[in-house]
């Protein structure tokens, strides 16, 4: 008799859908997975209703791959529901792992976001400037939409998470490795980062590393770069030194700096603080005014330092 198929769910919170694409990018593997597992919920690719999940017994699902951050009450509700129904909960991708790109919204208030999106946006016609309310009375009764929270959370902030697969999106080979470990029952101890390495991106980067002394920072398109030399040495901000490896160093290999999507390197508590430390340390000057000028070339340091993980930083959000 064949063994019972694994029961799994894939779900998205506040996300762009790129993680779903990363799962699909495992190509024939994901098709093969269909023979090994039953996919009970996967909004982007398969049918399945919330009420079907609610009807499941607790722990009935072997695993949920949850991607996306927690931005509203629906995200939180589903996170809690799927946590209850799943033996193993995996935070897949930067948003679930660290808050991700949506987490950058923690720099502004809920009020500012609603005003920008529904009132001040130039593409909205004058008669249509309406902020949707969580509940509205219509003839047929009360209509409800999810409540929009005042900040973004990572999955771990609302439910205990068993594994984290980093990346924006995770490299398909890493998604495949994680799925394989699940199917084969070879997952490491709970609460660990899987589908990644214990080195930094710099450790794995193939570019030549020499002395780092910088007197000007540039945006990537402003200079003709040496394709073989460390980008930081050329004055291009690269988050490789503060970031966990496992991505395959795809960005520095393609002429673009590391943006830090795999999250803090092992033993790094706050990725942005470490990034600030790394960037400052290569400034080649001992004169306070000149240092200010050199570092002044860098726009939006908070956005750069925590591009994928503001909600996971020690301070988590701006004070407004």
């Amino acid at each position: 008799m064949p063994e019972k198929k694994l029961q799994i769910a894939l779900y998205w919170g506040a996300a762009c859908g790129g993680c779903d694409v990363a799962v699909l990018d495992t190509n024939e593997f994901v098709i093969g997975v269909g023979f090994l597992v039953d996919i009970r919920l996967w909004p982007i690719a398969a049918d399945g209703k919330y009420r079907d999940v609610e009807a499941m017994a607790d722990g009935e699902l072997d695993c949920t791959l949850f991607h996306g951050a927690i931005r509203n009450s629906e995200n939180e509700h589903l996170a809690k529901l799927l946590r209850r129904k799943s033996k193993v909960l995996v935070a897949l991708g930067s948003c679930a792992h660290l808050g991700g790109i949506p987490g950058l919204a923690n720099q502004v208030t809920k009020q500012e976001i609603l005003e920008r999106v529904y009132l001040d946006n130039p593409s909205i016609e004058a008669g249509n400037r309406v902020v949707p309310l969580p509940s509205t009375r219509v003839d047929a009764g009360e209509l409800e939409i999810p409540r929009f929270y005042r900040r973004v959370y990572r999955l771990d902030d609302v439910v205990p998470v068993d594994y984290y697969v980093p990346g924006c999106p995770p490299a398909p080979e890493q998604v495949k490795a994680a799925l394989q470990a699940l199917v084969n029952g070879t997952l490491p101890p709970a609460r660990s980062v899987i589908g990644a390495s214990n080195r930094t991106v710099c450790d794995d980067c193939r570019r030549r590393k020499e002395e780092k002394k910088v007197t000007r920072f540039h945006r990537p398109w402003e200079i003709l770069q040496d394709p073989d030399r460390c980008l930081m040495e050329q004055g291009i901000l690269c988050a490789g030194s503060a970031t966990r490896s496992g991505c395959g160093v795809r960005c520095p290999d393609s002429g673009m700096p590391c943006r830090g999507c795999y999250g803090p390197a092992p033993n790094v508590i706050d990725q942005g603080a470490k990034f600030v430390s790394a960037v400052s340390s290569i400034v080649d000057s001992k004169d306070p005014r000149e240092i200010e000028r050199i570092l002044g070339d860098i726009p939006d340091i908070l956005g750069y330092a925590y591009r994928f993980g503001l909600p996971a930083s020690l301070l988590q959000r701006s004070i407004r």
């Binding site: 609302v158 470490k274 570092l295 301070l315 988590q316 701006s318």
Partner: protein
């Protein structure tokens, strides 16, 4: 009761800590608001220490090292000098006021200078009022 700022001070072992010590042995009166942590060099102060102190409820953070050129490890304080402006901008983006975090050079013989810096910083932070960082983080917490 008035607000008494809690300021975390990172003082380098070789100059600034000795300077603070001198302020004590010379019986200079100054604000008791800085909790001193001795570090070997101002370069030891990882920006993480500063954000961690603020996240845990410090109203201010003071970093002191040897004067430029005098660092016991010759270049350490230049590293602190380079980190500080970018860290400051990061904190400002977080909405944390400039006066809450400060970098100063204090030599082993500058007990009086140390006392003046502490008094001045304490007054500035007092005027800003208590830091809201920790309260807001706690108010944000979700029941898991």
């Amino acid at each position: 009761m008035g607000f008494e700022p809690r300021i975390v001070g990172f003082l380098c072992n070789w100059c600034s800590y000795t300077g603070a010590d001198l302020a004590g042995t010379a019986r200079i009166h100054y604000a008791p608001n800085v909790r001193v942590i001795r570090v070997m060099c101002s370069a030891r102060v990882d920006p993480t220490f500063v954000v961690k102190a603020l996240a845990e409820g410090a109203d201010g953070v003071l970093i002191c090292g040897c004067h430029p050129g005098d660092c016991h490890y010759s270049e350490g304080n230049y590293k602190a000098m380079r980190r500080f402006p970018l860290l400051g901008r990061l904190l400002r983006d977080y909405g944390i006021e400039e006066d809450r975090v400060r970098l100063e050079w204090v030599s082993a013989s500058e007990g009086k200078r140390f006392a003046e810096i502490v008094d001045d910083m304490t007054e500035r932070v007092r005027r800003l009022g208590p830091s809201r960082v920790k309260t807001l983080l706690e108010a944000d917490r979700v029941e898991r």
